[in-house]
């Protein structure tokens, strides 16, 4: 067997193993509970959309998705607004304490969220933000802002300084240059940073669940409700899980070539 073919087979095998658990979740989400508990079937014998219908018609279910979406988009907006100027400063200027600041930002990525759980809870309760979307959005800035600064800094350093200088000579003010000329040049970087802010805010549950109770409860916390008096409603649980996977899969195509860079805090 030649070399590249055995590589192809190995790769296919790995991808299949990777997708099997997801296939099983998808398979289960289209089954009735009776079929799920009745025995093992490899595809739905009695195809039903009932599980999805439960989620889309019950406001206590779909509001979880809306809540998650709200705090994720708030977090993305805040993250980008503060990270863009900071990344520009890091990529263009030397200033007192710049290296220390950069590493202090990284150290926040190392802090276990569980450490911040109790202080966050008390901090946001004491300023009256408990159970609001903005509380979760701010808490997620802890790891998203450093990440966005690092990613954007990488992209900005790829733009030569001469552009900045040319713009000054042509009479552009700094804000006008930044918005009209600079931002369009690094738009793919902004897209990647936004994607990672979206993603890490979307997958995190520990902080999101602790900082909310009813009004801003994320979908992850609502999913635990499927455990009822009559046991677990497996079909609905599976359908809810499938729906949380879709947003990430939809946007990953746009950043496929930058994924590694994002995960590596812009260091690849």
């Amino acid at each position: 067997m030649n070399y590249s073919r055995s590589k192809g087979i190995g790769m296919t095998l790995f991808i299949i193993l990777l997708l099997t658990p997801i296939y099983w979740l998808l398979n289960m989400s289209f089954k009735t509970n009776r079929e799920i508990l009745g025995g093992l079937t490899f595809w739905p014998q009695d195809f039903t959309l009932q599980n999805y219908a439960v989620i889309f018609t019950d406001s206590s279910w779909y509001s979880g998705y809306i809540n998650s979406m709200i705090y994720v988009s708030m977090n993305m907006t805040i993250t980008l607004l503060v990270a863009l100027p900071a990344a520009y400063a890091f990529s263009r200027y030397k200033f007192v304490g710049d290296k220390h600041l950069f590493f202090w930002l990284l150290s926040n990525r190392m802090a276990p969220p569980a450490v911040f759980l109790l202080p966050f809870f008390q901090l946001y309760s004491s300023i009256g933000l408990f159970d609001t979307h903005i509380a979760v959005a701010l808490a997620h800035c802890l790891f998203n802002v450093p990440l966005a600064v690092w990613i954007l800094e990488g992209f900005m350093s790829g733009v030569p300084r001469e552009y900045d200088e040319m713009a000054y000579i042509d009479g552009y003010s700094f804000p006008k240059f930044f918005v009209k000329i600079f931002l369009p040049m690094i738009r793919s970087g902004i897209g990647v940073a936004a994607f990672f802010a979206f993603m890490f805010s979307w997958v995190e549950l520990l902080l999101a669940r602790t900082l909310t109770s009813v009004d801003a409860q994320p979908i992850g916390a609502i999913m635990t409700r499927t455990i009822g008096a009559s046991g677990i409603d497996w079909g609905v649980l599976a359908a809810a899980g499938v729906l949380t996977i879709i947003p990430g899969v939809l946007v990953v195509w746009f950043v496929r070539n930058h994924i590694a860079k994002g995960f590596a805090l812009g260091r690849v």
């Binding site: 790769m11 400063a89 200033f95 109790l118 549950l205 899980g241 996977i245 690849v268």
Partner: protein, 288 residues
């Protein structure tokens, strides 16, 4: 790029500084403050000094969970790093197939962590899960809710499934950065496939591997949601890792002083081990 010294750049960094200080420094100071007091209620605490720290360091339950945590993180690194490298080596170099592989690999990374737990909770069950059912029908006595070893292996397998793609993606982007001329030179020298890997690919992968090891260590050391959903820390406390022990203490028992001391030790361990990894790897680099 040559940077211009300009301290007014601080104005541009200020928003980030304030925001991160608000969500990192204030909570951290709160934790430090609690760790040296015994708290009875709001505003009622008295100074106990280092008592909590001494107690925590001697606490058996915490020592156990620390050991479990190191065993878990060690196993995670030992499996995921070699596996990730081999997957990266197997990936197609360019074209639509490469894009497809990148996207399929990324899928587990984009799933909310509690859903990862749910997927494996279902997948591993003997009655309704493909994995558990498959093992049982092969004659393997597998039950992750009852058996300690099975629970452990399931949590480990889940983490391998969840995070090996990250190592693979990092290595893949490292491999793509190697100029084609290097391979051509190796071909002229009739270098074996192993020699190509050992002397061309591996050295070039070093920087991404540092990142991969650090990220995987840090994140596996903070793991909470996935095992919490999958096993709830059981059976017994066999899969209760540090974050869960801490969360139970802080939120469940509201044992603030002890939890705060624990938090600080926990954070310091992460920083220390990350720093050790980092210096060890960069030191190796210098020796060459």
């Amino acid at each position: 790029m040559n940077k211009v010294p300009n301290n007014r750049a601080w104005w541009l960094v200020l928003p980030v500084f304030i925001l991160v200080a608000f969500s990192a420094l204030i909570p951290l100071m709160t934790v430090v403050n609690y760790s040296v007091q015994d708290i009875f209620g709001p505003g009622q605490g008295y100074w106990v000094g280092t008592e909590w720290f001494k107690e925590i360091l001697g606490n058996e339950r915490l020592q156990d969970s620390l050991l479990r945590q190191f065993a878990f993180s060690g196993a995670v690194l030992a499996i995921q790093i070699p596996l990730g490298i081999s997957v990266a080596l197997m990936m197609p170099k360019s074209g639509i197939k490469a894009s497809l592989c990148l996207i399929l690999l990324a899928i587990p990374l984009l799933i909310p962590w509690n859903v990862v737990g749910t997927i494996w909770q279902i997948f591993g069950r003997g009655d309704i899960g493909l994995f558990g059912w498959g093992l049982n029908s092969l004659g393997v006595d597998y039950n992750y809710t009852g058996d300690t070893v099975d629970a452990w292996l399931t949590v480990l397998l889940m983490d391998v499934w969840h995070w090996t793609p990250l190592v693979a993606l990092l290595c893949y982007s490292g491999l793509r950065a190697i100029p084609e001329a290097f391979y051509q030179a190796a071909e002229i020298d009739r270098a074996s496939r192993w020699a190509v890997f050992r002397y061309i690919q591996l050295p070039r992968l070093k920087s991404v591997l540092v990142i991969a090891v650090l990220l995987r260590f840090m994140d596996s050391f903070m793991i909470y949601t996935e095992p919490f959903v999958l096993t709830g820390g059981g059976p017994g406390s066999s899969t209760t890792f540090l974050s869960q022990t801490l969360t139970t203490m802080a939120i469940g028992q509201f044992d603030i002083g002890r939890a705060a001391a624990f938090s600080l030790i926990y954070f310091l361990v992460v920083l220390l081990v990350s720093w050790l990894f980092f210096t060890a790897i960069t030191h190796l680099d210098k020796e060459k």
